[in-house]
Amino acid sequence: MKSFFESEAFIVAFVFLAYYLATRLQKRTGFILLNPILVAVLIIIVFLSVFKIDYASFHEGSKLIEFFLKPAVVALGVPLYQQLEKIKKQAIPILVSQLVGCVVGIVSVVLIAKAMGASKEIIYSLAPKSVTTPIAIEVSKAIHGIPALTASVVIVVGIFGGIFGYTIMKWTHVKNPVAQGLSMGTAAHAVGTSRSMEISPSFGAMSSIGLIVNGIFTAILTPYILQLINIWIPL
């Protein structure tokens, strides 16, 4: 039986099943904390622990699904193309605010984590925490963080931003609708974007610009920002 549970076919089917159940649960309850990724991951971890299946055997099957992160990032080129006209009209405010968001996001998370005594490995894993998971994972791999830790932090950051983002912006006087949508995508990636979509499609569209542009900036700049911080304070 154990060898069946370790077969690629079973693992692929089980990942789909866990994710399907998790999405159903969220639809049923409408509870934002029950993020489908989080729930599916929990279901799988519990299953693996109960049946004593080690991570290496699970990964043999699950990497078949994980691979599709890469073409999925490529596919984000389509919404990016569809937003190009909007980006052009406000090119400078969008690009500059994204650049600020990207740099501030990386520098602040690195410095706070360092101040709280986190190890280098952890700090590097947190650096790309604001951007969408496929990009964050690729960045984390490139800078020798722990991609799995990055993935979980990204998801938690997204859920936090999705739930509290608009309240935080109210407190901090971010009032302009375009700025609000943009900030949500910059800080809370896809989860923030889906929250913005609930408010209105135009909030959602701005949010997806934030998600994509900050994703690109973070992918390009993270290694260099870390190098610069390292000169100043060795991590």
């Binding site: 699904i65 992160l69 073409p71 991609p147």
Partner: protein, 123 residues
Amino acid sequence: MIRQCVIIFGCLAIGELIVAVTGIKLPASIIGMLLLTLLLKLGWVKVGWVKGISDFLVKNLSLFFVPPGVAVMLYLDVIEANFWAIVVASVGSTVIVLALTGWTHQILRKSKFLNGKRSIQDV
């Protein structure tokens, strides 16, 4: 469907090639994304050619993060040891990003110098 796969995986493969040849510090998938955007912009690829597969991939993006998420079980001890650093840094930084991105955008939008007459109407 096959043409869609050729375009998406083709962009990804060229991204890998560019990374291998230039040693650039960027994920191949990001280069593939920019390449796809460029091809669409130039009109060499039509949105309709890739719509089906790209909608499927983008709509189900969350599914693909489940396997890397599971790998967190390997690092539970690392997380436990750094729990508060991780939580405070992520939450604190997220609040800072929300505020500063919004402020920057609000200030720049108001600047007539940058936006000319269009700034008010383009919401």
